[in-house]
């Protein structure tokens, strides 16, 4: 048997082990309690983050529709082709085959390789985003291992560059949306403004992943079906929209808007030069966008609302109406135009250096006589002119809920000049305001509204969303518009400033007013030296050409304003309006 001393020693020394064992076991129990009871929530959250990978399923985005229901922008199904590198037995051969079959650029192929090398081998590498069915069928028939196809949507812009600044485009957000590599949203224009309506509600697929992120299954309970976005019904006439764009692209830059006078519907609005958002998903999109950014004619600017121009002679409509309504002038009162008018210590020139001779109000509009309107403006004063301009809507912004970036322009008065220029108002300011020069700046939409209001004698307010209602516009209460309109009809008759743009569609005719607005003042020295013609001036120093028109003259239905930047004369603008009016009045429908 064990001797007693050794036995006692065993008892003594084993006490240390028992104590140590108890303490150490307690440590384990406390640690377990700490982790599983006190910090449970924290660990549980981490465990959930680990487990699920949410994949957002984008719904089909709503369409932007024209007035007749045809889509201006819509989603089209596309096939995204991607490669899962680890599944390909010969990765290089696979990439080469795909590159050849899909005509991928070298740059794209290089990018693909870059991604393959960077990512874990089980992660998909996007090869092509907008693959059409034909190419897809061809490559799918080869049944290549490692090649995957996923269907999704890509935005198609039916109008292309026509009104692209207004309709806008969609794109990936600046910061990538987690779990959703294909997420897009409205970046600009209506696509941005109506993003919530258009985008619908994304669905989700919840994938169960393992430690390295590999998908091992799906959690069906968390699946959500995407809800398709709502359509936006606009007032835009797609045919006119295209026509207006085509006509305007014959010039370097410009803008135009077409209104339906009866209900304020915006039938078309175009700003040029423009961009085609369909190109943004191309391989060379970066170069394309870069080129646009450097274009000094500002392709991204929506000039219909943001471009400010001196209205030039188109403003004579406002001055004439102000004078008539105030009774300061009768339609028949004449003024003699020798080509210039001296007032104070300054000589004011008519655009027609030889003069127009004796002209009354109608003749002054027809020939756009500056001398007549200098004197008329001085007679009624700037306040009367401003009051009429305000009534005709030239200080307002329109459809501000959709187009937030707008320039309202300037209709000056004494107070304005004192606070903005810091000098008192002088008669000279009033005189040049008579021909729409000086401080006056308006945008294209304001000119179109002015034309619509004068032509209809109603307080027309433009709209772009067709909500099915027919707006009732209040009467302007103008008594003398018929004299102005008579003058505007004369403009397109023989001898008028836009006689070359006259139209006659089954008796329906157009009235309107030309305008050329000086981008810079021609100096006395230049004038004396024989006057530089506009052709000799550098493009961006040349005058803008403007034309506001309405038709048919007997029952005004359409109002159009077109501005051609630096076109030198108003001819291009007038011809553009003429083209559009012909289309509107039915000639184009033959």
């Amino acid at each position: 048997m064990i001797d007693t001393e050794i036995s006692k020693q065993f008892d003594r020394r084993s006490a240390l082990f028992l104590t140590a064992g108890t303490v150490l076991t307690s440590v384990l129990v406390l640690r377990m309690l700490q982790m599983q009871v006190f910090n449970y929530k924290n660990y549980k959250k981490q465990s959930e983050n680990n487990l699920f990978r949410i994949q957002i399923n984008m719904p089909e985005r709503g369409k932007i529709l024209s007035r007749n229901g045809s889509p201006l922008s819509h989603d089209a199904p596309v096939y995204r082709i991607y490669i899962i590198p680890e599944e390909a037995p010969d990765l290089e051969a696979l990439v080469n085959t795909v590159a050849t079959d899909l005509n991928l650029t070298k740059k794209r192929v290089d990018n693909i390789w870059k991604k393959i090398k960077k990512q874990p081998k089980f992660q998909p590498v996007l090869v092509s985003e907008n693959t059409n069915w034909d190419k897809l069928a061809g490559i799918q028939a080869k049944n290549l291992a490692g090649l995957h196809v996923e269907s999704g949507y890509a935005r198609v812009y039916e109008m292309g560059p026509a009104g692209a600044q207004f309709f806008g485009y969609v794109g990936a957000p600046e910061r990538a949306v987690p779990n959703n590599p294909f997420y897009t949203h409205g970046i600009s224009g209506m696509e941005k403004q109506f993003n919530e309506t258009l985008s619908g509600v994304p669905g989700q697929t919840v994938m169960i992943t393992n430690a390295v992120g590999r998908v091992t299954g799906e959690d069906k309970h968390q699946f959500r079906t995407p809800i398709i976005g709502n359509d936006i019904q606009t007032t835009v006439n797609d045919v006119i929209q295209r026509k207006l764009y085509d006509a305007l692209t014959m010039h370097r830059a410009g803008c135009g808007v077409v209104l339906d006078i009866e209900n304020g519907d915006i039938l078309a609005l175009v700003s040029t030069p423009s961009f085609d958002p369909n190109n943004f998903s191309n391989d060379d999109a970066d170069e394309y966008i870069d080129g646009l950014r450097h274009d000094f004619a500002k392709p991204f600017m929506n000039k219909v609302f943001e471009g400010l121009y001196p209205p030039g002679s188109t403003f004579k409509i406002v001055v004439a109406l102000a004078a008539l309504e105030s009774g300061a002038v009768t339609p028949n009162e004449t003024v003699f135009c020798p080509g210039y008018w001296d007032y104070g210590d300054r000589r004011y020139h008519c655009w027609e250096a030889h003069g127009h001779g004796k002209v009354n109000l109608i003749g002054a509009l027809k020939h756009s006589c500056d001398i007549y309107f200098y004197q008329l403006a001085l007679r009624i004063g700037i306040d009367a002119i401003k009051t009429m301009a305000v009534r005709l809507g030239m200080t307002e912004k329109y459809i501000t809920d959709i187009v937030q970036k707008q320039m309202a322009g300037i209709i000056p008065d004494r107070k304005w000049k004192e606070s903005n220029i810091g000098a008192p108002w002088v008669h000279g300011d009033t005189i040049i305001s008579g021909i729409g020069q000086g401080f006056i700046l308006v945008n294209c939409m304001q000119l179109a509204v002015m034309m619509a209001r004068v032509a209809s004698n109603k307080r027309v307010i433009p709209r772009i969303i067709n909500d099915g209602t027919i707006p009732k516009f209040e009467n302007m209460g103008l008594k003398k518009t018929k004299y102005v309109l008579e003058g505007l009809e004369e403009v397109l008759k023989k001898g008028g400033t836009a006689s070359g743009s006259a139209i006659n569609i089954n008796g329906a005719k157009m009235g309107g007013k030309t305008g050329t607005s000086q981008v810079r003042s021609i100096s006395k020295a230049e004038r004396l030296s024989g006057v530089l013609t506009n052709e000799q001036l550098k493009w961006n120093l040349r005058n803008h050409g403007l034309f506001v028109g309405y038709a048919p003259t007997n029952a005004p239905k359409y109002a159009v304003c077109v501005i051609t930047e630096h076109s030198g004369s108003s001819g291009p603008a007038a011809r553009t309006v003429s083209t559009i009016m012909k289309e509107l009045l039915g000639e184009g429908k033959k």
């Binding site: 048997m1 064990i2 001797d3 001393e5 050794i6 020693q9 065993f10 008892d11 020394r13 084993s14 240390l16 082990f17 028992l18 064992g21 150490l24 076991t25 440590v27 384990l28 129990v29 640690r31 377990m32 309690l33 982790m35 599983q36 009871v37 910090n39 449970y40 924290n42 660990y43 549980k44 981490q46 465990s47 959930e48 680990n50 487990l51 169960i208 992943t209 393992n210 430690a211 091992t216």
Partner: protein, 381 residues
């Protein structure tokens, strides 16, 4: 002093006498843990018998054969063969160091035909046996002599160095602790432990720079600062902690441990099986296992204390130490209280070597308990 070794021959017991002395207190808790192990491995297989559960069940059946052989053979057989068993185990350690199969960055396995054996697991049991054999017949005078500890120190140090070189830090620490524990319980002078501790502190920098592999250093750094490398070396332990903690009080449910089932949890069937238990059965499950383990330790201590011969006492005590160190290192490691060193959870982890060597140990303790009243001589005659 009466030399125990000279005490008369043990009367040979027949089988029914042995059966009558068989302790269910040792046997039943062991079986309970084995049942839990199969239940958890079935879940680790994702609700299947393959590849772990059935294979482990086979090993357990083999383990029972080993257990009963060890339990019911004459204890003298083990006294006689203690040095031989140690020699074989040491030989296997030497073999694995030079021709071993590398796994998880360490040479731990020997391939013998279709069986992979992990000699370091077998060695722990052999060490307990040989130390018990060595000290059992020394009297208190001999036990107080320093030179009597040199041989057992060498018996530990040689394999220790080889196992560190494999490198298998967990086992190395285990055998060092077993040896130190055995020295203490047999009555080694307390001063030596203090001197040994000072020497160990001095040797630490040498081991750190000269003895440890880069991955081991990294594990220790990661342990001290878990955010050091959350995706690399710290990944395993972080995932294990998330799995265990997210089990809560009652667990996520059997076969519903999302971390384990989705293979976030590495080594879930071997070293990290406790984590899986904790995730699926929560605190209740983990605590139950720890409780059974504690019962086993208590029963083994009781067996050691009540054993009336020194050899049986030391075998039971040594195995108790081994068993406690086993699960304490494993559980502290998976709970993030210790660096991950690669020690399986006794009777739970998938794998044969550890299971067989443990069941052999249980068998020996049972044997010691059956023969607790026998007087034994050093020659085993």
């Amino acid at each position: 002093m009466i030399r125990q070794t000279r005490v008369s021959n043990a009367n040979m017991m027949n089988f029914s006498e042995k059966l009558g002395r068989f302790s269910l207190a040792i046997f039943i808790p062991m079986c309970l843990v084995l049942i839990i192990s199969i239940v958890v491995l079935y879940s680790a297989d994702g609700g299947s018998w393959h590849p772990f559960a059935l294979s482990q069940l086979m090993k357990i059946i083999a383990g029972f054969v080993v257990f009963f052989v060890a339990a019911f053979t004459n204890i003298k057989l083990w006294i006689k063969s203690a040095y031989g068993i140690y020699a074989v185990a040491l030989l296997l350690i030497i073999l694995v160091t030079f021709v071993g199969h590398t796994g998880m960055g360490a040479q731990r396995w020997l391939n013998i035909g279709f069986i992979h054996i992990q000699p370091s697991e077998l060695f722990k049991m052999a060490l307990v046996l040989v130390l018990a054999r060595y000290f059992a017949w020394m009297n208190s005078v001999e036990l107080d002599k320093f030179k009597n500890y040199l041989v057992p120190t060498l018996m530990m140090l040689i394999p220790f160095a080889l196992i560190v070189a494999q490198p298998d830090l967990g086992t190395a620490i285990s055998i060092a602790l077993i040896t130190i524990g055995m020295f203490y319980i047999v009555g080694a002078n307390k001063k030596w432990f203090i001197i040994g501790a000072i020497l160990a502190v001095c040797a630490a920098p040498v081991v750190w720079f000269g003895g440890l592999h880069q991955y081991q250093r990294e594990r220790i750094i990661t342990f001290v600062n878990p955010d050091h490398d959350a995706r690399g070396a710290g990944y395993q332990i972080n995932q294990a902690k998330i799995a265990f903690g997210s089990g809560g009080i009652i667990g996520k449910g059997y076969m519903r441990g999302s971390q384990s089932q989705q293979s976030f949890l590495p080594e879930k069937q071997t070293d990290f099986i406790f984590t899986m238990l904790g995730e699926e059965f929560g605190f209740m499950g983990a605590f139950l296992l720890l409780f059974i383990y504690s019962v086993i330790v208590a029963v083994l201590f009781w067996a050691a204390k009540t054993c009336r011969n020194r050899f049986g006492q030391l075998v039971c005590f040594g195995f108790m130490l081994n068993f406690f160190i086993y699960y304490f290192i494993n559980i502290s490691m998976v709970l993030g209280l210790m660096p991950t060193v690669g020690v399986p959870l006794p009777l739970m982890s998938f794998g044969g070597s550890s299971l067989l060597s443990l069941m052999f140990g249980f068998g020996l303790c049972e044997n010691a308990h059956i023969h607790k009243d026998q007087q034994l001589s050093a020659k085993g005659s």
